[in-house]
């Protein structure tokens, strides 16, 4: 009848063994690259990581999808094996984040711009193609808009528009029904900044507000309506694609790579007269697009094996070039001279100054 005791002792020993292993383990150096950051850069970063691992010599880097802000928080935690070597970002590093890095001893940071990501306003293939301007997107989705009776009088009202036709007679007479990412998403931030704020600035008197009170201006321009016309659909863009397919009246907001992969089901609306495709996004004609970056901790180069190889692989023409494998995954490449410039700077590990 002693089995209960014996089992318990054995389990306790196992637990002790695990604890000891942990203490020994933490002195070990890390032999793989650790990357954290934006979920928008994640699909590209992981492909490069996998290529690096397949080439043989090096272990496959670990890529965490934490969001841009979360990535910088970890990255700027300090220097050492417990902090990531590379931060992925769907926007440039902010001044405060840079200062946090400096304070934690992360002095030299190398910025590498990798290309662009377009945010598309898409709808089912079976619907009549939409032709929008940023101003119309703002009027359809903002929480408060200029009074429709007198748009230049300087009076804001709660968004009264229920159908697209009410915004502009040439638009379809269907209910405004937009599926988009929640506020925690980087895509939502970028969309609010590029499309909503862009459209909002077409009203001169709101634009003038920017000088007076920047916070107030931001809240007017970037706040999204909450009366059910904008439907938060989670971070899962595949779900939005599925919903668009079953509801031709609905409009969805997501990254260009999802449009590219699902071109047989959904099509992108043109914004300010430009349809989203490689050329228009790469040249900057399509206005709702943003640059993507990764940041390298220079202090780790040489300590953690493979960082130079990762940078070289990412900035090679076979990866980020016009025919590269990242383009297959939906990255919009930079024009050739810009690529050359960034590849050279990355190779020299030119530190960022702010």
């Amino acid at each position: 009848m002693f089995w209960g005791v014996k089992v318990n002792n054995r389990l306790l020993l196992a637990a002790l063994g695990v604890a000891i292993a942990a203490w020994q383990g933490h002195a070990q150096a890390r032999d793989y690259i650790s990357i954290a950051g934006s979920s928008t850069v994640y699909p590209f970063s992981t492909v490069v990581a996998e290529q690096l691992g397949k080439a043989g010599k090096l272990k496959t880097p670990k890529v965490e999808s934490t969001g841009t802000g979360g990535g910088f928080k970890l990255f700027c935690g300090g220097v050492g094996v417990n902090y990531p070597d590379i931060a992925n970002a769907s926007r440039a590093i902010k001044k405060t984040e840079f200062q946090n890095c400096q304070r934690a001893g992360v002095k030299e940071i190398v910025e590498v711009k990798i290309g662009y990501d377009g945010i598309v306003v898409a709808q089912s293939k079976s619907a009549a193609p939409l032709d929008l301007t940023r101003r119309e997107i703002y009027l359809a989705l903002a929480k408060r808009v200029p009074d429709p009776k007198c748009q230049d009088c300087g009076k804001l009202v709660d968004n009264p528009y229920q159908t697209w036709k009410q915004i502009k007679p040439s638009l379809p007479d269907s209910k405004i029904e937009v599926l988009g990412p929640p506020p925690t998403s980087g895509t939502r931030d970028a969309f609010a900044e590029l499309a909503l704020e862009g459209g909002c600035q077409s009203f001169g008197w709101i634009k003038a507000w920017k000088e007076k009170d920047e916070n107030e201006f931001k809240s007017i321009c970037q706040a999204v309506r909450e009366d059910g016309r904008y439907i938060e659909s989670g971070e899962n863009d595949n779900l939005i694609v599925q919903k668009l397919e079953s509801n031709p009246n609905a409009v969805g907001i997501f990254g260009y790579s999802f449009l590219e992969q699902n071109a047989d089901k959904v099509s992108g609306a043109s914004v300010d007269g430009v349809r989203p495709d490689y050329d228009s996004i790469s040249s900057g004609q399509y206005t709702v697009s943003r640059p993507l970056f990764f940041y390298v901790k220079k202090a780790h180069v040489g300590t953690i094996p493979g960082i130079e190889n990762y940078i070289a692989e990412f900035t090679s023409e076979r990866a980020w070039g016009e025919d590269g494998y990242l383009v297959d995954k939906g990255l919009i490449p930079m024009p050739a001279p810009e690529r050359k410039q960034y590849a050279a700077d990355a190779k020299r590990l030119k530190p960022l100054s702010m």
């Binding site: 383990g25 933490h26 793989y32 965490e64 293939k125 999802f258 047989d264 995954k329």
Partner: protein, 438 residues
């Protein structure tokens, strides 16, 4: 009638109450029928939604267990794959196996000549084909110099087309495959050189960004190591705590406070444990991020309350007569507990532990904070290697743009559900097999 009932009017009373009962009987029976209907419909509703869930997951996911393969006559050309000419594994490792595939494809479609067309043709076969050929050549060097028919994995776009997930009707610009590629695929199908076979990669590989090369083995191994750590810590600690609290601790305000706290902990949102794990294990103890060790420690916090509560209930259900008998013939308190109470309570404790483990297996929120929501290709071999777990793999695939990951997401859910059902079935079996009723 208003007169008070005469003394000895019992028959009169009983007739009256009989009348009352009879009048209300139909109503009461109807109420009972209604109540049964409510219960039945509640169960039906639950079963229907469960059936719907299973049906949608299985119908989306079953195709992922098969993968499209292209049969090609590969000539193992020594010139291409054995640069040093000595057939050693080192020399074979540096060969150009992609070249073999390209040559074989060009042989099937000799008319293809322009650069862009060749690119389109070569993209029909997965980039994993080269690695597969290399492994084959190293394993069987006798193949070198011979032509063998080899079945190689097709690219995910081809796979999706063959499985019917890409519509032919849409215009060329709206498809991932152009008209020429579709014509080539049709020709290969006609020749009998495209086949769907069991998708072994899915069960043996780690994560990948190419759907046809992605597997769940890496995540399953991560889940295994995480659960081993969780079980090794939470089971002994949980049972020790339960025994002490039930059998030895005095009943006072302190033990009441502890009991309230344990019950409270069971209801704390799991993300909180993740934050705690980040602060304590990673930032303070310097344990490596993304490791199953830290994951297991965090999940231990989460499952401990469940195990303690279940173990205490199991100990409580052992009748006091057993303890009194043992003490009566001279056993010490510890002997009573370890010789009699614990063995009798063990089935209940195991059930609690398995249900706690099943919950830990399905948990993903607390692992976000400690870096286990990550792209990890290499399969973990110890509790210190970076790893991810099954539910996180489901989440990462669900968020991937490639069409091929839609079915793989559902397939991964099927695997996760299979594990959960097995564990819960084991709990039910243990309970019915070993439980003693008094």
């Amino acid at each position: 009638m208003n007169d008070p009932p005469p003394i000895g009017g019992a028959p009169e009373m009983s007739r009256k109450s009989y009348e009352t009962v009879r009048r209300g009987l139909a109503k009461r029976r109807a109420a009972e029928r209604r109540f049964r209907c409510y219960g039945l419909s509640a169960i039906l509703l639950g079963l229907t939604s469960l059936a719907l869930l299973f049906a949608s997951i299985v119908s989306n996911g079953y195709t992922a267990f098969r993968q499209t393969f292209v049969g090609l006559d590969i000539y193992f050309d020594a010139e291409l794959i054995d640069p040093q000419g000595n057939r050693s594994p080192e020399s074979l490792a540096t060969g150009d196996y992609g070249g073999l595939v390209k040559r074989a494809l060009s042989k099937v479609f000799p008319a293809v000549s322009s650069r862009s067309e060749k690119r389109a043709l070569y993209s029909l076969v997965s980039t994993a084909a080269a690695i597969e050929l290399q492994r084959r050549a190293v394993r069987e060097p006798s193949l070198i110099g011979k032509t063998v028919k080899v079945w190689l994995p097709a690219d995910d776009d081809v796979d999706m087309y063959v499985k019917g997930h890409i519509r032919r009707g849409a215009g060329e610009s709206a498809r991932r495959l152009n008209d020429r590629q579709l014509a080539w695929i049709d020709e290969l199908i006609e020749q009998g050189n495209i086949e769907q076979r069991f998708n072994k990669t899915f069960f043996t590989a780690g994560d990948s960004r190419e759907p046809e090369q992605a597997g769940i083995w890496g995540a399953a191994a991560g889940s295994f190591f995480t659960l081993v750590v969780t079980l090794a810590l939470s089971f002994p600690i949980g049972i020790a705590a339960a025994i002490y609290l039930e059998e030895f601790a005095p009943k006072n305000r302190w033990t009441d406070l502890i009991e309230v706290n344990i019950n409270n902990l069971a209801a704390v949102p799991s993300i909180v444990f993740g934050l705690l794990g980040l602060a304590v294990f990673i930032n303070f103890f310097d344990l490596p991020r993304s490791s199953p060790l830290v994951g297991g420690l965090v999940l231990t916090f989460m499952t401990l309350p469940t195990i303690i509560i279940a173990a205490r209930a199991a100990i409580k259900s052992v009748p006091p007569s057993i303890r009194e008998a043992a003490l009566g013939i001279g056993a010490s308190s510890m002997q009573t507990v370890f010789h009699h109470v614990l063995p009798l309570a063990m089935p209940g404790m195991l059930t609690g532990a398995i249900i706690g483990m099943a919950r830990a297996l399905g948990e993903s929120a607390p692992l976000l904070m400690i870096g286990m929501v990550a792209f990890i290709v290499d399969i973990p071999h110890s509790v210190m290697d970076p790893a991810t777990v099954l539910p996180v793999q489901v989440y990462l695939w669900a968020d991937s743009p490639e069409r091929g990951f839609v079915e793989r997401t559902s397939a991964a859910i099927i695997v996760l559900l299979a594990f959960l059902i097995t564990m819960n079935a084991l709990a039910v079996y243990l309970r019915s097999r070993f439980e003693r009723r008094w």
